[in-house]
């Protein structure tokens, strides 16, 4: 017997990300929580970056999917504390990213902390196309706030990478 809450969680967890539609908001760790009281559903989402322009779309998608699944009273709220981290991307999310040719972030890595550090940190990034670790960063900033642009020196293919944050 599936409870109403489990059903609501299932629906919200299946909502695709607007920029990375091969992943769900749950895979990305953006869906923070879902609650249900007497049929009224509240879903919380955690934006990735402060300036993520897709927040309205994500909130709208979650609300629309829940309404389509028969929930009449739906509220979507933002949860900004704790802030999003790339560590929140699930194992399944990492697998789907790599499958889509996007290198997943390294768990636990961060932009070098502290003010006295200089120069880029060297991370062993695996090419999502050929698996080589002979890769280099072309640009720390890419097509969206959460990505950087890389190149594989073995297969010569460029690829996106989700940044650690």
């Amino acid at each position: 017997m599936v409870t109403t809450l489990e059903r609501a969680r299932e629906v919200a967890a299946a909502v695709p990300d607007p920029e990375l539609p091969m992943l769900t908001l749950a895979d990305l760790g953006i869906l923070a929580d879902v609650e249900e009281h007497d049929g009224a559903v509240t879903a919380w989402i955690t934006p990735t970056y402060s300036g993520c322009p897709a927040v309205a779309e994500m909130a709208g998608d979650v609300a629309r999917r829940l309404r389509a699944a028969g929930f009449d009273q739906v509220e979507v709220r933002l949860r900004i504390d704790p802030p999003w981290s790339s560590d929140r991307i699930s194992a399944e999310g990492r697998r789907k990213l790599a499958e889509a040719g996007i290198a997943p972030p390294v768990l636990g890595a961060r932009p070098a902390a502290g003010l006295l550090t200089l120069g880029p940190t060297r991370l062993a990034v695996t090419c999502p196309q050929c698996g080589s670790t002979d890769t280099e960063e072309l640009s720390r900033f890419g097509s969206t706030a959460c990505k950087s642009l890389w190149r594989c020196r073995s297969c010569r293919e460029p690829f996106d990478r989700i940044k650690e944050i």
């Binding site: 998608d61 961060r110 890419g142």
Partner: protein, 293 residues
């Protein structure tokens, strides 16, 4: 995949009744603090907290506007993308901070009203962020000075008593670390580069250094809130000194820019550069108030 169009919900974003027209500019379709508890923290004067959020939000908004002016003008496509990303981070921080200011100041103004409908003397940003863009060396130096100081500030604000300000800072500090790294890497590359690039970087540093001190000069609101920016001075200067030495650049000795009767950006006393910047930022919103599409 389902047959969902991922942008189908553009028309019915959360908080907006189905089918309602969207404001034609600005951000009227999404509250950046949607559903976040807005209650002011106990023991803190909401007016002071609002004023402080406005200062930090205006810094971010104005620098964001300067950065997007580099679009189509940056020396390389990758740098254009990078500067746009930096500007987007700052704009996101500004949206949250201005929204927070509007929640607390008793006027009920939202982020758009604060961004588009205040005059230059009502802006509370430091003058460093409003100065004309100049060349790419000035872009790099301004980012280096601002990001180093703002990262250090956000690190300290991440456990502030106001949960909203703390959350903005906790995410912001991670973003600013990327901004600082970007500015540091270009400072090293251009400073310790050719004779020409070094000369341009030193000139930019000499021109902007006198504006740095304003970031460490406490406003009475900051003192009442217990967030004295003077505490940032030592660690920020130490970090900058290390980078500049590595980049073979000399630490300028020029005195800080003067205040006007003890007043500067935090009091609404700005340089002539802010007016034209705001005119560009605000012109559409003011020409078509409340326009929808």
């Amino acid at each position: 995949m389902t047959d969902d169009h991922v942008y189908l919900s553009l028309a019915d974003a959360a908080g907006e009744p189905d089918g309602e027209a969207r404001w034609a500019y600005g951000t009227g379709f999404a509250d950046p603090l949607l559903g976040v508890d807005a209650a002011p923290p106990p023991g803190i004067d909401p007016a002071d907290l609002a004023a402080y959020c406005l200062m930090l939000g205006d810094d971010a908004l104005v620098l964001s506007q300067r950065l997007i002016q580099w679009i189509t003008r940056a020396p390389e496509l990758e740098e254009e993308v990078a500067l746009a990303n930096l500007g987007l981070d700052l704009l996101g921080q500004a949206r949250r901070l201005l929204t927070r200011a509007g929640q607390l100041d008793g006027t009920g103004r939202n982020e758009d009203e604060l961004a588009y409908w205040r005059e230059d003397f009502e802006y509370r940003n430091v003058r460093l962020v409003e100065l004309e863009n100049g060349d790419f060396a000035q872009c790099v130096v301004r980012l280096l000075l601002f990001a180093t100081a703002r990262e250090e500030l956000y690190r300290r604000l991440a456990d502030h008593a106001d949960p909203v300000l703390a959350a903005v800072a906790a995410l912001g500090v991670k973003e600013l670390a990327y901004h600082r790294e970007y500015a540091q890497s270009w400072t090293l590359r251009l400073g310790d580069g050719t004779a020409h690039s070094r000369e341009r970087m030193q000139a930019a540093l000499d021109a902007l250094w006198p504006w740095l001190d304003e970031l460490f000069t406490p406003h009475e609101v900051e003192l009442r809130l217990g967030v004295d920016p003077l505490d940032l001075r030592e660690p920020v200067l130490a970090s900058l000194a290390l980078v500049l030495e590595e980049a073979t650049l000399s630490l300028p000795e020029a005195a800080p820019r003067a205040y006007v009767n003890g007043r500067a950006g935090r009091h609404g006393v700005h340089t002539e550069a802010l007016g034209p910047l705001l005119a560009e930022l605000q012109v559409v919103a003011r020409a078509h108030p409340g326009a929808t599409w």
